[in-house]
Amino acid sequence: MEALTSLIHGFGVLGDPMNIVYMFVGIFLGVLIGVLPGLGGANGVAILLPLTFSMSPVSAIIMLSSIYWGALFGGAITSVLFNIPGEPWSVATTFDGYPMAQQGRAGEALTAAFTGSFFGAFVATLLLTFLAPVIARFALNFGPAEFFAVYLLTFCSFVGMGKESPFKVISAMMLGFALAAVGLDTVTGQLRMTFGSAELLRGFDFLVAVIGLFGVGEILLTMEEGLAFKGRSAKINLRVVLHTWKELPRLWLTALRGSIVGCWMGITPGGATPASFMSYGLAKRFSRNGARFGKGEIEGVLAPETAAHAAGTSALLPMLTLGIPGSPTAAVLLGGLLIWGLQPGPLLFVEQKDFVWGLIASIYLGNIAGLIVVLTTVPLFASILRIPFSIIAPIILVVCAVGAYTVHNALLDISVMLIFGVLGYLFKKLGYPLAPLVLALVLGDMAESSFRQAMLLSRGSLSIFWANPLVAILVTLALAMLFWPLISFVTERFGRKRPQMVPGQ
């Protein structure tokens, strides 16, 4: 009840019309930032942060967090339309979103993505409103071993789910791990595989790789297949939104599962990217239509988007209550809090009631505003596919190049992006899956350092992964996931072989 009164008070803080204006400006900028690949939410917020120093902290955080919501929404747009993930957490959205667009169902895919995002954020916000102090403590239980267990679970829920041969999946994943290892090793402080080159010091950025693998690779494929988009027949009116909405309640379980995965990963703080992958993997495994995933299944869009947005929202919780940012964007916002003279941490909820509840209220309103903004623009975005390929393809390439450059302000990254583009094309042609490579590239580094931190803590004993119930459950679950295909394969084989062996004896 106390939370409810505080929330109502928070809406009162929002009553200032200027704050509503800041909110819409933020959402609009955020959608733009999300659409441009490379210019992620973290960069966008960092660039605009200094503009807010002269505002009151409440207005500033409302505007900046609205940018964040906008970017979360916007990331889905290019993933669906052009197979270019605008943000790391929308990679999983491309798996089914892009095939849907190719079938002329871009409007449906976008509606599902936006609605899923909204639902995920809404669940996470409810959590933030009513359970913040309880759940914040939970994040503290996460040491290196627990972090590794979460990453392991993400990998395991993803491996072996494709139709590709296990050999190809493992090769792609190993390539990803190798690329992730380039650069500084945070545990020993040594450089690895940089071969004395200053350009390799920063390693291979996940975003640059993804823009190349998906965006440029896709353009190369399309060029080969006839210089035209397949999704030109997309219906472009607002009825598509209502039509899709009628279908969505059927998928409540997927949405709920996505929200839970997302909230959990946001709080722990695993982040939105692993959450989206894990949610997609789980949806595929547990859905009745699992086999059709990857060919344009609406569930495959809903699952990662719900999780990503839930994680993005709940990532604010450890930031506000503990001062640990749950995502890079949250890290920048954290810096902002300090500059505005606020101290994130356990006392923020006590000392800065106006600020905290104003922020939480703005999440509710911001997401509703965001949903309205993006849904009304669905037809606009879907109609982009009607522009002839010969006009839009060069524009996409330029946007990709700008995006790749923006990540680190490095010219070499544009060449790296093009090389990844060729790699993506070859992978598609040879039937190698891209997802394991991308997953290994984004999580390989974090999984490795948390594993080695855990080994330092336990002085080399693997028993640390069963040292407490939390980590033991996570690891056991992961191993069961990993070996499930093997177990079922072996039992199947065994079951088939035995009758054959009987006559031989």
Binding site: A42, A46, L49, P50, L51, F53, S54, A139, L140, N141, F142, G143, P144, G183, L184, D185, T186, V187, T188, G189, Q190, L191, T194, A198, L201, R202, G203, P318, L322, G323, I324, P325, P328, A331, V332, L334, G335, L338, I339, G341, Q343, P344, G345, P346, L347, L348, H408, N409, S449, Q453, L456, L457, R459
Partner: protein, 337 residues
Amino acid sequence: MKRNRVSARLLAAAAAVAGACGLAPAEAAWQPTRPVEIIVPAGTGGGADQMARVIQGIVQKHNLMSQPLVVINKAGGAGAEGFLDVKSSTRNPHKIIITLSNLFTTPLATGVPFKWEDMTPVAMLALDEFVLWVNAKSPYKTAKDYVEAIKGGQPHQFKMGGTGSKQEDQIITAAIEQATGSKLTYIPYKGGGDVAAQLVGGHVDSSVNNPIEAVAQWRAGELRPLCVFDSQRIPLQGKVTADMGWGDIPTCKEQGLDVEYLMLRGFFTTPGATPDQVAFYVDLFKKVRETPDWKDFMEKGAFNTTFMTGEEFKAWLKKAADTHRGLMEKAGFLAKS
């Protein structure tokens, strides 16, 4: 009329400042002609990044420069990427870099070829303090208690969490090991915020977080400061918790742990910068230091507010580089070459 008087007074103050550092007025003539980049050789959200963005905000808010400041993170290779970028931008005065200890530690630990002499020193803006923290639930009330426990325990029994590897936190850890004669287990994490959270969660036994990284947990009664690695106590009188302020934390030396370490928060510009270009930035930072926003930021983070420029700064850098080499050599952190 009033405005006139104020601006006249400002002019007088500016002249006094210029006079105090022995500059002829004509020398302040250089002005940036395009946006100035602040390179941060670390990731977004860290201490150096925060300071760079605070400066960017102050410059913008108080209109201290005609051209905008842009913050760019180049964190690759423990910051080597950023330093190499500045080193290779000879005579491009529109680029400055904020430093942390990796100015000294990264080339020593990784062998990447750069040193502070490769760039043009501008000014030291502040020094960041380091404090020894333990979990408030632990039985150690003073640094003495904790040192006794380390000495009495098994080697590697006590776990120290810190930021990065072979950087400032691990150097301090190595110095504590040398002072106590007992080994600690050092666990490297990505950032100072992570380290503080891991300490609250009880995954490590202690940390050497900067004040700003752990102050929130201290105020919430979850962490306990034992001592500060400086030659004197932090000169801040206000209370942070109900009964303690920064000034009440004893120095480690008082507690019988003879370790001192401060981290440089200063600025460099590109090689070959002319004296009037350096003078422009020195003047800019002096103006930044005068703003209430900066003073507030310094107090929140309990920074040591020493300001140095010119020869004095160079002498300090020379000494600090030698100290780092010595510390890292003793700890065995030097790159094999």
